[in-house]
């Protein structure tokens, strides 16, 4: 019975804190650049403001714009319920890694459709770029999943987390695969150096261009979905590759410890992203494939290394 409670609590924890993590990321970036920056709760304020606001829907858009934003949110939320955050078990009936990735894929698919649906040039441009990037990202995902399967003999993220948390040492292949997955996280979540989440220049946008025509609560849904998506990916990265300290049994001490460790790990990742986003320029669009090919290659190399070592 108690395990069922934890399966409810941990996704709720993730969903509620996702905007906070984004706030912390932005605050860190502001600190690096030497100004105060917005409050770490800013995204909550923004979302509550957007939900109260009225909205304008383009006359040329169809039902896709009407239901699309909700679909992205639903996909993000439901995905949060099938991944381990700070508690995992050896066996689980849900948590198939393909289901997770394809559910996350729905977000991307629907957002691209929203971009095309408003019939504005920017939306179409954004969708075209998003699909161009995600086409190159998908192979990385398969390579990384293959690596995890070879390492843990499982496609279930709960089993992967529990197996890897008991492992005492990892080979170089593990590090390389983690790096490949980190690049995938950046690409999937429209972070630098592949996309600039802060830009106001429509012509350079990728993710933002697709949602330019949304407003009000629909924009809030998409914003929340993308915040959750980033935290989901980071959580998968943590629990797939560095799940040390994740709780395997239900008692207060281990849970508290696991929670603390999880927060520390996610802070480190956010710190790394903030560092990347302040110290380098965005890549030229046609240079993005080079980075993604690099990620794919180290993914392959990690599998080979793992086989021979």
């Amino acid at each position: 019975m108690s395990t069922y409670i934890i399966y409810i609590i941990q996704p709720l924890f993730l969903l509620l804190l996702a905007p906070l993590f984004i706030g912390i990321l932005n605050k860190t970036k502001a600190c690096f650049r030497g100004y105060t920056g917005a409050s770490i709760f800013q995204l909550y304020y923004d979302l509550s403001k957007l939900i109260k606001k009225g909205e304008v829907i383009s006359a040329s858009s169809s039902f896709v714009t009407k239901i699309g934003p909700l679909l992205t949110l639903v996909a993000a939320v439901s995905c949060a319920f099938v991944i381990p955050v700070f508690y995992t078990s050896r066996e689980s009936i849900f948590g198939n890694i393909f289901v997770i990735f394809f559910t996350l894929g729905i977000i991307k698919f629907v957002t691209s459709l929203i971009g095309l649906d408003s019939a504005s040039t920017f939306g179409g441009m954004g969708s075209s770029r998003e699909l161009f990037i995600s086409m190159l990202v998908e192979p990385i995902m398969f390579v990384v999943v293959t690596f995890l399967f070879i390492e843990t003999k499982s496609f279930n993220i709960f089993t992967i987390a529990s197996t890897n948390s008991t492992q005492l040492s990892f080979g170089p292949g593990h590090v390389l695969a983690a790096l490949a997955f980190f690049i995938l996280v950046l690409a999937e979540n429209a972070r630098m150096p592949l996309d600039n989440p802060e830009t106001h220049l429509e012509l350079t946008m990728v993710h933002e261009a697709m949602i330019l025509d949304l407003s009000g609560k629909r924009l809030a849904f998409v914003e929340l979905a993308s915040a959750i998506k980033l935290v989901l990916f980071l959580t998968i990265l943590i629990n797939g590759f560095l799940p040390y300290g994740i709780a395997m049994e239900f008692n207060l001490l281990t849970i508290a410890l696991a929670l603390a460790l999880y927060i520390v790990k996610i802070m480190i990742l956010l710190f790394a992203i903030a560092l990347l986003e302040t110290t380098m320029a965005k890549f030229r669009l046609f240079k993005v494939p080079e980075l993604l090919t690099f990620a794919f290659s180290i993914g392959i190399v990690s599998i080979i290394i793992n086989h021979y070592m």
């Binding site: 970036k29 690096f32 650049r33 030497g34 100004y35 040039t121 920017f122 441009m125 630098m192 150096p193 600039n196 802060e198 830009t199 106001h200 220049l201 429509e202 012509l203 350079t204 986003e277 302040t278 110290t279 380098m280 320029a281 965005k282 890549f283 030229r284 669009l285 046609f286 240079k287």
Partner: protein
């Protein structure tokens, strides 16, 4: 060729043309409708003069003036001819002349004969068809009605598979002025870019004709806020040329200090923009911080963050003494080291260099063809800086070389802007060392004679500004014409982005950073 030799040469070529030299460096050639094309052709092709602009004056009839300059000797040549309702198009051999001709055509109602491009430029679709605001019979103060009478503007189209158009603006995402960009792209590469401006035509030239010369400096400063000092300086030069006034060295030096302060904050903002547009977010925050320090210094000096109402004809409108001098030197010292450190860090960043190098290239040939000026022109190897070629104030002594680059890309413009900032530091220090004692606030009353005319030119942050002024009755001007640098340099951007990909456009645009207000006037 010296200006008086040129006058003789013109007489030899065409003895029907009347010539006259005014103000030592201005040659006026009166010719006719039939012969103008021939004369301009000879002046440009054989005598190597550069086309600057073209404008119209209304006296008894309309007079079209074509401005040419000899950059090496530093003089102006004006070729003028009378017209009734049609003007001669020079578009066959002066590519950028279409801008000037279309402007005259819109504002004076003079048709262009056999020009390739005769579309409206000032008049947008919403204008009235038969209204010509710069004509004398158009009453000052009356507003153009919004009547939607003008025919639809035709953009260039591309055909073929995968070709599409991206309309951007006139309302933009940033807090900037209006301008419409029409991209024709196939996939990401830009095939063609067309820029449509003049959304905020303010009719400043008309207002100038109706303001007392003693207050006109304020209006000049408002043509383009970011170049307030340069415009005020240009007005001062114009008036001083007309009444043959010589300022003291101290006043000249203070003016140079102000001009260079303006240059520093503008170029700091420009390089900020270049970094921001590629998402390189650490350095721009620091650049803006330093730029703000300069703005605050400006406010302490003149009471205006944009140094307004400081330079006035025949004098200077601020007190300048040891306190100000020490303040400037202290602030510059404070900024210089930090600035150099941040610039070093940008030049050492691989991801930054990867974006700016070989991007947005304007070749030397193109730049010469469309006569780019300022940083944009110098980045493409055009060795032209008004401060050197038409030296004013004390630039003759302090500016000893023109900074140029050859490749003409974004990185070259970035480097040049940095070089100009560094030069500005040197110039300010040199100018300050020339100021001995206090400079007292002095704004003499100016009285202009009727019927004089002159040109003045200044290097603004965007490039070469040429102002023509002709005095009229009651201490006002009968005609003021601004050939603003942005008016022609905007065109360079269309060449810079051709072949680049759409997401690189903002970067190219920021490296030009042309002014909309200045273009629209």
């Amino acid at each position: 060729m010296k200006i008086n030799l040129l006058e003789k040469e013109i007489k030899n070529i065409n003895n029907r043309a009347e010539t006259e030299i005014k103000n030592n460096n201005e040659l006026y050639i009166n010719t006719t409708f039939e012969e103008v094309k021939n004369i301009v052709g000879i002046l440009m092709n054989n005598l190597r003069l550069v086309f600057v602009g073209e404008f119209c004056i209304q006296e008894k009839s309309f007079i079209i003036n074509i401005i040419l300059t000899n950059r090496r000797q530093g003089y102006f040549v004006t070729v003028r001819y009378n017209v009734t309702d049609e003007l001669v198009s020079l578009q066959d051999f002066v590519p950028q002349s279409n801008l000037f001709e279309r402007e005259i055509s819109d504002l004076y109602g003079i048709k262009i004969v056999d020009g390739k491009d005769t579309r409206n430029i000032v008049k947008h679709e919403i204008w009235q068809e038969n209204v010509f605001p710069l004509r004398k019979d158009y009453a000052f103060g009356s507003k153009v009605k919004l009547a939607s009478e003008v025919s639809r503007y035709k953009f260039m189209r591309i055909s073929g598979e995968g070709g599409y158009q991206i309309p951007v603006g006139p309302v933009h995402a940033g807090i900037i002025e209006p301008g419409h960009f029409r991209f024709s792209a196939t996939g990401e590469p830009i095939e063609n870019l067309e820029i449509r401006l003049m959304y905020k035509h303010k009719g400043i030239e008309k207002i100038c004709e109706n303001i007392n010369a003693n207050n006109l400096n304020l209006l000049f400063e408002r043509v383009a806020g970011e170049s307030s000092v340069a415009y005020a300086e240009c007005y001062a030069l114009l008036v001083e040329k007309l009444i043959e006034w010589k300022s003291t060295d101290e006043v000249k030096a203070v003016r140079v200090v102000l001009l260079e302060l303006e240059r520093i904050y503008n170029y700091l903002d420009d390089i900020t923009g270049i970094c921001v547009d590629i998402g390189y977010s650490y350095p721009p925050k620091k650049f803006s911080y330093l730029s703000e320090m300069i703005h605050q210094l400006c406010e302490r000096l003149t009471g205006s963050r944009f140094l307004r109402n400081a330079i006035v004809p025949c004098g200077i409108n601020i007190d300048f003494n040891e306190v100000q001098k020490a303040d400037i030197l202290y602030t510059l010292k404070n900024i210089e080291k930090r600035l150099n450190n941040i610039i070093e860090s940008t030049l050492g960043s691989v991801s930054f260099l990867d974006r700016v190098e070989h991007t947005g290239v304007v070749y030397n040939k193109t730049a010469n063809k469309i006569a780019l000026t300022g940083v944009v022109g110098r980045s493409a190897g055009i060795e032209y800086d008004v401060r050197r070629n038409f030296p004013y104030e004390i630039y003759k002594e302090i500016k000893t070389k023109t900074n140029t680059e050859t490749a003409g890309g974004v990185f070259e413009r970035y480097k040049l802007k940095i070089a100009e900032i560094k030069d500005a530091f040197i110039f300010i220090r040199k100018a300050l060392s020339l100021i001995e004692g206090d400079v007292v606030k002095n704004k003499p009353e100016i009285i202009l004679q009727d019927g004089l005319e002159a040109y003045a030119t200044v290097e603004t942050v965007k490039g070469e500004l040429v102002v023509y002024g002709k005095t009229g009755e009651n201490n006002t001007f009968d005609r003021i014409y601004f050939k603003t640098p942005s008016f022609t340099n905007w065109n360079g951007l269309t060449y810079a982005v051709a072949g680049e990909i759409v997401p690189d456009f903002p970067l190219c645009n920021k490296s030009f950073n042309m002014s909309y207000a200045e273009n629209d006037r």
